[in-house]
């Protein structure tokens, strides 16, 4: 772990260059989403109150979870490819005592920190919009971290495996976009026709959205929550194993 912290420091150091812009984005993003979808669109949909809560309160945790997915995916796409191929910083690290696993854990640790920051800002804004119904909402913060890492692990593995950065277009268009739209973020997955509904249930994002929503609305139950958490942890573990393999192949010839 001591070694992983050393590689974490590199990412933290690099982040210092962009932190101002990054904080502004983290505040502006949720404000825009919640105004447009929650307040704007929210007055048109959910007329019969089928959701049981105002649309703003329904969609807010969905957007929070989806944002965690986007951060996890993005932070482990181009930055991983850059550290392998462009800045070659991973090669630099490997000529020091650091090992492949330290590179991966250090980077995921950094992503976890980013997720914590963004998640905290988001939750504060959600509170300001009155979208948090229960103190359980505080538990959404570690869940946000889990959701992000459930995506960043597998995507890291993918990025190390990829030969050229064109592959990321496919990832964002056919992976991130559909998940963002159809994993229960904006409307219940039960509105989807049958085979698609099951696909949505299998995504880590749907598990994250459902868990986050139950926490902010205060309707979470212990067993269901634990099942969601276990599923996200499974994705994190599988992602880590895959990343170990693809990093090893790419960096240790």
């Amino acid at each position: 772990m001591a070694y992983a912290l050393r590689s974490f420091e590199y990412w933290a150091y690099s982040y210092r260059r962009v932190w101002r812009g990054s904080i502004v984005t983290s505040i502006v993003g949720p404000v825009l989403y919640l105004s447009a979808l929650g307040v704007g669109l929210g007055t048109l949909v959910n007329k019969g109150n089928k959701l049981g809560v105002p649309y703003l309160d329904y969609v807010a945790p969905g957007i929070l979870a989806a944002t965690a997915m986007q951060i996890g995916t993005f932070e482990s796409s181009y930055p991983v490819m850059a550290a392998i191929r462009w800045t070659r910083q991973f090669h630099a690290m490997l000529s020091t005592p650091l090992r492949v696993r330290d590179l991966i854990v250090g980077h995921q640790l950094y992503i976890a920190c980013r997720l914590t920051m963004v998640g905290a800002i988001y939750l504060a804004i959600l509170a300001a919009f009155g979208a948090l119904h229960s103190p359980l909402a505080l538990l959404a913060l570690p869940v946000v971290v889990l959701i992000g890492l459930a995506h960043s692990g597998p995507v890291s593995a993918f990025s190390a495996w990829l030969e050229r950065d064109e592959g990321f277009n496919a990832l964002f268009r056919f992976g991130v976009m559909p998940m963002f739209l159809f994993s229960g973020t904006f409307f219940p997955v039960t509105r989807l026709p049958h085979p698609f509904r099951e696909v949505a249930y299998a995504t880590p994002l749907w598990n994250g959205v459902d868990l986050t929503r139950h926490l902010t609305l205060g309707t979470a139950t212990v067993w269901q929550s634990l099942a969601h958490i276990a599923y996200l942890v499974l994705w994190i573990a599988v992602g880590h194993v895959l990343a170990r393999r693809t990093f090893q192949r790419r960096l240790v010839l």
């Binding site: 150091y13 800045t87 070659r88 910083q89 630099a92 020091t96 005592p97 960096l251 240790v252």
Partner: protein
Amino acid sequence: MSATAPLIHARGLRKEFGTLTAVDGIDFDVQRGEAFGFLGPNGAGKSSTMRMIGCVSPPSGGTLRILDMDPVHDGPKIRARLGVVPQLDTLDLELTVRENLIIYGRYFGLSRKDVRDRADELLEFVQLSDRANDRVEPLSGGMKRRLTIARALVNEPEVLLLDEPTTGLDPQARHVVWDRLFRLKQQGVTLVLTTHYMDEAEQLCDRLVVMDKGSIAEGGSPLELIRRLSTREVVELRFSDEAPHVDEQTFGGQVARIETLPDRILLYTDDGDALVPVAHERLNPQSVLVRRSTLEDVFLRLTGRTLVD
């Protein structure tokens, strides 16, 4: 470690990539305090050998001991005592010169204070103090190389591995790098380097091995290799059109060996000046040059090819 054990010890060392054999069973020992070189053209297996010594590439076969440890099991421990100057720079161009050193020092677990002091010392050493707070991106190739060397010294390594340290640099920048490396050698740092420049090998190496197609063809000090494998002098003949066919008989007993290259003929002899009038008379060359034998001639003798194709 016993006083006599070599710092790096290789026997039958091999590296294979699928069906390609990059290093085909080589033997060498590097002693503490010496400058040891791998000389050879591109694709000779020099970089693969360096990556194995740097413990980033596991050997496919044979024995390799570094600092009396096994690179496969003790990689992190060995790397903590090595300095690596890779062939391709791995600097972060967005960070400043100083930040690059600090980050790298932290990978070795140096404390923040130590690494700051060390960074200032090293920037002084590679003459980059005035650029300490500039971003790396606009620096010249020579400056980047010097920064990479400074970075490799941050952990006060016992062995410095340099993979083609001056490839791509202009002559002036190369001399600055050589000068710094020479200073390090005087301070007792063991240098292991690869190069395809014979002048670099002659300038820096106490001992070197000539590599070709994954094998070691010969080894020794530069002077010893030249004495053993070439003559004292070389007469280079250039022709306006195709070089005529000549053999040793053309010059009686005066020429020990002849190499015919696409653009010139090399006559190996112990007395070049005596050969010049004879060559003029018999072959009518466009120009004649008498020079001392170099490692290039040794290489030509061993492989039948020039170093930089």
